[in-house]
Structures are given as structure tokens and as C-alpha cells.
């Protein structure tokens, strides 16, 4: 039996069957959590943000229009929630620049280290570029969905993703070689990895 489409479930929620939101929570809490984890590198903040998204869905359920893709609408709310969170916390994010020690490692340990470097590199990208990569690669949103989300042309999304990927590659290489992660144009000077308490940091 096919699962009930998200849009039908959301319409039920909109019509007052708020318990049905549990179904959407089960479907999307993990993707949303991963979206925020990649954006913030902080487990606690990510979980808080997921809860906040569902509170907002509940509160603004009447604004959901039939025919709208639920996923796009939800990510729109998720982005706004994140923007509000950044606005509140930005002044408290100092720069973290400890280089990763180059050592010879077994394959799996090396993969782990590469993954960790990659996540750090993501944090050095400006928020909008990081978001594009996370949405397209980890959340597996299609370019036309992202275009709807950002309110721009699909072509523009593709160009921006390619640029973001190139910038990420630069930062990744710099981090791997132990150099401080800034590019020649100083384009990264405003993007700083968040200071995450050690216990909450992602592995």
C-alpha cells in the first residue's frame, strides 16, 4: 500500500486534525535534523530547531495552500527558523582554527578524518553557499525545488552550486594542509565556524 502523500496529511493537519502532524514529524525529523546539523554543527541547537519548525507548522497550518509541495513549504519554514536563530546568536561565534595534524591513517580512520574536515570546511563557507550545498547534496532537493525555495531561476541555482562547490574545495584543501582557511579575496572573513561546546559537537 502506498503511503499517504505528505500534502494530503498536511491538509488534514490544516483542517484541524493536528495529531496527523506526528506522521510528518516521523517522516521529516531526521532529514531536518541533518539539515540543521550540517548548517550548525551543533546537536542541541539542531534538535531545538527541528522542534521549532514543527511548532511553526502547527501555528501557521492555515497558511499551507493545497497544491503546494509540502517538502518545499517545510524547508521554507526551516530556513526562516534558521535565519532567526542566526540573528540571535551571530555575535557569539568566535573563530576556531586548529589545524588537523597530518598523520598516516587506516582507510576508515582516514575517511572519518576527511568527513570531519569536510564538515569543518562547510562551516567556513558563507551561510548561503553552505545552505545550497546541504540542500542539494544532503537533503537531496532537486534544483527546481531549491529554485522555488529561494525564489530564483533554476539556472542560477546550478551556477551558484557549482561556485559553492569550488569554494568548498579550496577551503577543504587549505584545512587538509593545515593552513588557515581564508581565500585570496578574503571572501571568507565573515564566515566563521560556530563555537560549539565540546559535548555538543558532531563527530
Amino acid at each position: 500500500m502506498n503511503p499517504v502523500p505528505d500534502e494530503d496529511v498536511m491538509l488534514q493537519v490544516r483542517n484541524g486534525e493536528v495529531d496527523m502532524l506526528g506522521l510528518l514529524f516521523d517522516r521529516y525529523q531526521t532529514p531536518l535534523y541533518n539539515f540543521y546539523a550540517k548548517m550548525t554543527q551543533d546537536r542541541v541547537i539542531s534538535e531545538d530547531l527541528v522542534q521549532e519548525v514543527f511548532l511553526r507548522i502547527l501555528r501557521y497550518r492555515q497558511t499551507y495552500r493545497p497544491g503546494t509541495t509540502f517538502r518545499t513549504w517545510m524547508y521554507q519554514i526551516a530556513r526562516n527558523t534558521r535565519i532567526d536563530q542566526v540573528r540571535k546568536t551571530r555575535p557569539e561565534t568566535p573563530l576556531v582554527t586548529e589545524p588537523i595534524a597530518p598523520t598516516s591513517l587506516s582507510d576508515s580512520a582516514q575517511h572519518k578524518q576527511e568527513a570531519a574536515t569536510l564538515q569543518r570546511a562547510l562551516m567556513y563557507l558563507p551561510e548561503d553557499k553552505r545552505e545550497l550545498l546541504v540542500l542539494s547534496r544532503f537533503q537531496e532537493l532537486k534544483y527546481d525545488e531549491i529554485a522555488r525555495l529561494l525564489g530564483c531561476e533554476v539556472g542560477a541555482v546550478k551556477v551558484r552550486i557549482h561556485r559553492a562547490l569550488q569554494q568548498l574545495r579550496q577551503v577543504f584543501l587549505q584545512l587538509e594542509s593545515g593552513a588557515p582557511a581564508t581565500d585570496a579575496n578574503g571572501a571568507l572573513e565573515d564566515s566563521r565556524p560556530s563555537a560549539v561546546p565540546p559535548g555538543r559537537r558532531l563527530q
Binding site: V18, D19, L21, G22, F25, D26, Q29, T30, Y33, N34, A37, K38, R43, S46, E47, D48, V50, Q51, E52, F54, L55, R56, L58, R59, D84, K88, H111, K112, E114, A115, L118, Q119, L133, S136, R137, F138, K142, Y143, V157, K158, V159, I161, H162, L165, Q166, L168, R169, F172, L202, Q203
Partner: protein
């Protein structure tokens, strides 16, 4: 194909939405061009990043939020219904009664006259009058934000009163979202810090309050809570918090506290350490 042409295909190639021919072109180019090959390799590296699972409490937290939301909605619906039945209907009837009175009839005539004049003036002036300024977008946004803040506060307050400790814990976590602590939520949190039966909930309340140390009432409330705590764990956490805030006024209270008979030695030692830090 050169790099520019490949760049147009590359994003679609990365998401696997190109034809077999196009994929072949990209791969062929990447064998010759290190730069483009590295872009592809970078994209593939993302596969190394593990997919994370939210904590098991996440679902329970959602349930608690949903429950609190339903409770608030029901209460609101109930009060609106009562108001409608008792108040608004009466207002409507008294309005119609007034309408039929001689004074009402006179007012009605004057109102009609004014409406007539206004319509005439408006037609004369044309469309210029029609451009009435709508409330700015930023005002709307502010309204949305304050509405959400209220909602979160209501959820927090409702959850702080639940029977189960885990729901109260969720209540504490909802309460800590705002940069500015609402006075009602603040007093609920201070009450929780002093009287909640669960050590975990009391500790969580302290954690939520710790972000609002700039407010004198919060610091005062935390000092007051120290006297009534029985759990050494919470006592130590409170002492640490006071030391962290570096409020010199707390030193005297800590000295008094240190004199409490039967105090756990570790707690006494911690208090000594905090006093030395505050001096």
C-alpha cells in the same frame, strides 16, 4: 568539450539527471581536466559524511509540544465560546436596541449624510485617495515574531505544569528559546528551580536561567534557591553558576550558606572555592 561547457552540465551530472551521452562527455573531460575532476571528487566526498539520528527524546518532546498545543487551543476555544455566548451576543442586541431609539435614528441620519459627502469627495478627487498605505512588511514580521514568542511561552508554561518530569523538562527547554525572558516564564522557571521534585528538571531550569544572568531578579532567584536545595548535585550547580556570574553580592550569601549544619563536605568545599573566586 571545454570546461565552460562542462560547467553547464556538471550540476545536473552531480545529481544524476543527465543522459548517458552527457555523462560520458563529462567523464571523458574529467579524465583530461584535473580541475573539473576535483569538483566531482569533492561532491563524492560528501558521501563520507554520516547521516545522523536525532536523539530518542526528540519524538517525546514533539508529543509533549503537541499535547501542550492542544491544551492551549482547547482552552482558547472554550474561552472564545463562552465569551461569544455571554458577552458578544448581548453587545449585538444592545446595539440594535440603541439603533431603534430616537437618538440612534438621529445619529443614523447624520452618518448617512457624512457617508454621502465622503463618497462625493472621493469621486471628485479620483483614484488618489484609494492609495491607502498598508502596514509595512517589517511590522507584519514583528507581529509574526511576537505571536510565535507568545506561543512558545504558552507551550513552556503549560509544559512546566505537567505531571511527568520529562514533560516538565521539555517545558524548560521551550522556555529557554528567547533572548528576552518573559517575566511570567522567568518566575515559572525560578519556581521550578526551587520546588520541582526532579533533580533533572531543577538542573535544566538552572541551565535555562544561566543565560539570563544579566537580570538581577534571576541572580537573586538563584541565590535564594540555594538555601532550600537538598540535593548536593543541584547545590554544586547553583554555586558554580553564582561563581560564573561573578556577582560580588553573592559572596555573603555563600558564606551564610557555608555555615549550614550537616552540609555535604564536597558542597562546602565548592562554596569555599566560589567565595574565593568572587572576592
Amino acid at each position: 568539450m571545454n570546461c565552460e561547457q562542462i560547467a553547464e552540465l556538471l550540476p545536473d551530472y552531480l545529481q544524476g539527471s543527465v543522459t548517458i551521452d552527457q555523462a560520458g562527455q563529462v567523464e571523458q573531460h574529467c579524465q583530461l581536466c584535473n580541475n573539473c575532476a576535483q569538483d566531482v571528487a569533492m561532491w563524492n566526498k560528501f558521501a563520507l559524511v554520516p547521516r545522523l539520528q536525532p536523539s530518542p527524546e526528540s519524538r517525546a518532546r514533539f508529543e509533549a509540544m503537541l499535547h501542550a498545543y492542544r491544551t492551549i487551543s482547547d482552552e482558547r476555544a472554550g474561552s472564545v465560546e463562552t465569551a461569544r455566548k455571554s458577552g458578544k451576543l448581548k453587545v449585538a442586541w444592545s446595539f440594535f436596541d440603541w439603533f431603534r431609539s430616537p437618538l440612534g435614528a438621529a445619529a443614523w441620519s447624520v452618518a448617512l449624510l457624512v457617508i454621502g459627502v465622503l463618497i462625493g469627495a472621493r469621486v471628485g478627487i479620483g483614484t488618489k485617495v484609494a492609495n491607502v498605505a498598508s502596514p509595512s512588511q517589517s511590522e507584519e514580521l514583528t507581529a509574526v515574531h511576537s505571536e510565535l514568542t507568545n506561543m512558545r511561552q504558552l507551550v513552556a508554561l503549560s509544559m512546566l505544569q505537567q505531571q511527568s518530569a520529562s514533560e516538565r523538562l521539555q517545558g524548560v527547554s521551550w522556555s529557554g528559546r528567547e533572548a528576552h525572558l518573559d517575566p511570567q516564564v522567568q518566575s515559572a522557571l525560578l519556581h521550578t528551580l526551587r520546588y520541582d521534585t526532579s533533580v533533572d528538571v531543577r538542573l535544566a531550569a538552572l541551565d535555562a536561567l544561566s543565560r539570563h544572568g544579566s537580570q538581577p531578579q534571576v541572580r537573586q532567584g538563584v541565590v535564594d534557591a540555594l538555601q532550600e536545595q537538598q540535593s548536593p548535585l543541584v547545590q554544586v550547580a547553583l554555586i558554580d553558576q553564582l561563581a560564573e556570574w561573578r556577582d560580588p553580592g553573592a559572596a555573603q550569601r555563600l558564606r551564610n550558606f557555608q555555615q549550614t549544619p550537616n552540609l555535604n563536605p564536597a558542597v562546602r568545599q565548592r562554596a569555599e572555592w566560589a567565595i574565593s573566586k568572587l572576592q
